[in-house]
């Protein structure tokens, strides 16, 4: 830039111009710089996804297949033994990944669809609509969500669809709060006003002008929200109103085998059986949080 001519030219103004990279290149660079905790988290999540998707091929037996010996010990035909009615624990663990994680994922997606679109609409509208939605959300949030979910599930019955819808609606309140809070900062930008002046509709402004600018906090929230939903489902199943038998699920597996823990003094392995699904839940929660932490750190631009 030193030989720039003395006359002014708009083209030659100094700018920081980044080399164009494809999304693939950027992802590779990003991965290379990721910390070990995040890599660990990504590997764990990938493993869970693989297990969930290929459950019928990986699992040695079916999830509802009953064998003659209940509470069979570890080893032999059943790696982690069998449960109170003689179902293979390992197979149920593998199918549980599919059911628990799959339902949690679907619920989180639904919660985001509801929460984010209402949040964006409220942030753009800022009038009676905002007031109406915000106050309704306040009411929903005032009731402890686990108890509220229990009540609703006993009213509507605990089918998978009901479970997804009820938890999604209850969790969408948090998503709404976050979306609205970050979106109001973007709504006041001149480019949103420019889009309004151009005559763009609400949908365009939501999707094209605002959403891309609030993605990072939403993605991070997605990770955390997924953990909470997942824990809520496990808790509800543990209480017996979540995923219903014979569908395998980690939460109800903890409950069904909980009594085994008393036998730990006689057979350590048997005592560990109820802790296996609990550990599966804990490991996934930790893994997701590692990845979210790193992602937040990366997108918030904090430099070490």
């Amino acid at each position: 830039m030193t030989q720039t001519s003395q006359s002014y030219s708009a083209k030659d103004e100094a700018t920081s111009f980044l080399a164009k990279r494809t999304a693939w290149d950027r992802a590779k660079i990003l991965l290379k710089k990721s910390p070990n905790t995040a890599r660990f988290g990504m590997i764990v999540i990938a493993a869970y996804v693989i297990v969930a998707v290929f459950a019928p091929w990986i699992a040695p037996y079916g999830q509802a297949e009953v064998f003659p010996v209940p509470y069979a010990p570890w080893g032999g035909d059943h790696m982690f033994g069998t449960d109170q009615i003689g179902r293979d624990i390992l197979s149920r663990m593998i199918y549980g990944a599919r059911n628990t994680v799959g339902i949690a994922f679907a619920t989180t997606i639904l919660a985001f669809l509801i929460g984010a679109s209402l949040g964006l609409a409220a942030a753009i509208n800022r009038s009676w609509l905002d007031q109406f939605i915000s106050r309704s959300v306040d009411v929903l949030m005032a009731i402890p969500s686990l108890i509220f979910a229990l009540v609703l599930l006993s009213i509507f019955g605990s089918s998978v669809i009901n479970l997804i819808i009820i938890i999604a609606v209850l969790d969408s309140t948090r998503v709404f709060r976050l979306t609205r809070a970050v979106a109001v900062n973007v709504v006041v930008m001149d480019y949103v006003e420019a889009a309004k002046l151009r005559g763009e509709g609400l949908g365009w402004i939501m999707r094209r002008e605002i959403l891309p600018n609030i993605m990072p906090p939403l993605v991070a929230e997605f990770g955390l929200r997924f953990c909470f939903v997942f824990l809520t489902i496990a808790a509800l199943s543990f209480l017996g109103v979540g995923i219903q038998p014979p569908t395998a699920d980690w939460g109800s597996m903890v409950r069904e085998n909980a009594s085994l823990i008393q036998f730990a003094q006689y057979d350590l392995k048997a005592g560990l059986t109820p802790l296996l699904p609990a550990a599966a839940i804990a490991l996934l929660t930790v893994a997701v949080n590692f990845v979210v932490d790193w992602f937040l750190h990366h997108t918030s631009g904090i430099k070490d």
Binding site: Q6, D190, K196, G199
Partner: protein
């Protein structure tokens, strides 16, 4: 006498880290400043003037480092000192006045506590003495109610007052050197005059040396004993103020000086394209426009001038339909325009386009230039694919850029280029009428000139009409055919540029015009003598 020299910077080089590598921001600059002298430091943004100003304190911003050179302050090399040792100088013998006073004060503490904080920290005076001294400084800086103003919180005083309180804060420990970093850039012209007068008086009174950083030549001419021009981190030239103004040596300096020479010959008035009649408008219960009448002839530029709060931007919001007026009507091209935006047809929306002050926030940071310019083409004119591509290229050439910019994001453009893209976006709609809201006030002078020339050329080629909102009188001189002067929500004066700018003036126009700094080192002195 070597002790005469307060600050002696030798061969200073500073590097900054960005885009994953180190860039040289300051490339070997020398500064010699004697006690009591004021040095003006001017240059475009990115010239390294703020970095150099901060380096005079031995300070570098995070992500920057001093790689070479000495910063001798009263014989001590600040570049070699530890952070703790440098702290003994900061807020004590060297102080700093920042550009944005509002962002620099702690909103939770009273002004006088903040004014005296560093004096008390160094134990230079007792608390009672320091408070007394702060009050006398307030009085000297012509702040209203000097005995009580210090008890207020930062949000309870105006921007110009806050900037003067910050000067008092800088002066409180009686430093040897004050660094002013664009202290008046964010202020209105009439306020700027007061602040400049106060700063100059106090610096002279205490015989304090100062470095005054700005991109406004006329301002620096009032303040500085000598001026240093920077570009790309290197010194272009340095000379005594009068000599620099009358006979600059380097080509680049001359080009900086020539910006103010841009003048447009007024066009003969055609029939009006836009007429707003008896407009009253309010935000909630606060009435901001009172009976505003403005008529804009086709193919001309009408400049709306006034200070912040005068209602100029509100007028623009009324015309665009964002703020429906309480009463009055808007006629556009002979037809009455619905007052609400959603009642206007797509074609009515297309005909009126707007260009914003801050190009940074006027473009979605996640959209490329192609998407930004392409959207109005698709939305209004239904252009897609090849046809849109061709038109985007034409538009880019029209604004003196080219196809290389197509896939860039706004963050990869300079300030001037961003504003050009905003102009292209407005042009893409093929409008008749463009509202320019302070479009050049955030830009450097040389870039401003480029944008103004571009707007004038486009006006000729496309027969555009501009409503040009600004507080900068020299911009008005440069491009307007007609001028509307606004104050407190009312139109004070309206007419052809030459009529408005030649006496007799209404009182407010007189004040506004007289407050515009001129490229004459004696201007401020004469102005204050005249007002006294």
């Amino acid at each position: 006498m070597s002790s005469d020299i307060l600050l002696d910077i030798k061969g200073l080089k500073i590097q900054g880290f960005s885009d994953e590598r180190w860039h040289e921001i300051v490339k070997g600059v020398d500064v010699t400043l004697k006690r009591g002298q004021v040095m003006g430091l001017i240059g475009e943004s990115g010239a390294g003037k703020s970095t150099l100003g901060l380096a005079a304190m031995g300070f570098t911003q995070p992500g920057c480092k001093i790689t070479e050179g000495q910063i001798l302050f009263d014989g001590v090399d600040l570049a070699q000192l530890s952070e703790a040792q440098k702290r003994r100088y900061w807020g004590n013998r060297i102080t700093y006045v920042a550009q944005s006073a509002a962002a620099s004060f702690n909103p939770a503490h009273r002004l006088i506590e903040q004014t005296t904080a560093s004096t008390l920290r160094f134990g230079k005076k007792s608390q009672a003495e320091a408070l007394e001294d702060a009050k006398s400084l307030y009085a000297e800086l012509n702040l209203p109610n000097p005995d009580t103003i210090g008890d207020r919180f930062p949000h309870q005083v105006s921007g110009g007052q806050l900037q003067r309180v910050m000067t008092a804060m800088a002066m409180s420990p009686r430093p040897d050197l004050i660094i002013f970093d664009e202290p008046t850039t964010a202020l209105d012209v009439t306020t700027q005059v007061e602040v400049l007068t106060a700063m100059r008086k106090i610096v002279e009174h205490f015989n304090t040396a100062a470095i005054y950083i700005t991109h406004d030549l006329a301002v620096v001419a009032q303040m500085a004993d000598f001026i240093k021009v920077l570009r790309y981190g290197e010194e272009v030239e340095e000379a005594e103020t009068r000599k620099m103004l009358s006979a600059p040596e380097k080509e680049y300096t001359k080009s900086l000086w020539s910006v103010r020479a841009l003048v447009k010959e007024p066009e003969p008035a055609q029939e009006p394209i836009l007429e707003i009649k008896n407009i009253d408008a309010a935000y909630g219960k606060v009435k901001v426009l009172h009976n505003v009448d403005i008529s804009v002839p086709r193919g001309s530029t009408v400049a709306v001038v006034g200070e912040s709060g005068s209602g100029k931007s509100t007028t623009a919001r009324v015309i665009t339909g964002l703020l429906p007026p309480a009463s009055g009507q808007i006629e556009f091209g002979g037809q009455i325009l619905p007052s609400k935006l959603q009642d206007r047809s797509k074609d009515q929306k297309r005909q009126i386009q707007m260009i914003y002050q801050m190009a940074d926030t006027a473009m979605n940071p996640r959209q490329t230039v192609r998407e930004i310019i392409g959207r109005p083409l698709e939305f209004y004119l239904g252009l897609r694919g090849q046809a849109a591509e061709k038109r985007i290229l034409e538009l880019l050439e029209m604004i003196e850029l080219d196809g290389r910019f197509m896939d860039r994001l706004p963050g990869e453009l300079s300030g001037g280029q961003k504003q050009r893209i905003c102009i292209a976006r407005a042009l893409a709609a093929e409008p008749d009428f463009i509202i320019c809201d302070e479009v050049t006030s955030a830009l450097d002078q040389i870039v401003q000139e480029g944008i103004l020339r571009l707007l004038m050329r486009l006006q000729k080629e496309l027969n555009l009409t501009y409503l040009f909102i600004t507080h900068d009188i020299s911009t008005v001189r440069a491009i307007a055919d007609q001028v509307v002067v606004m104050n407190l929500g009312r139109v004070v004066e309206q007419g052809a540029k030459n009529d408005v700018f030649s006496p007799p003036h209404p009182e407010y126009t007189e004040l506004l015009l007289a407050s515009v700094p001129e490229m004459d080192p004696d201007w401020l002195t004469n102005l204050n003598a005249g007002r006294a």
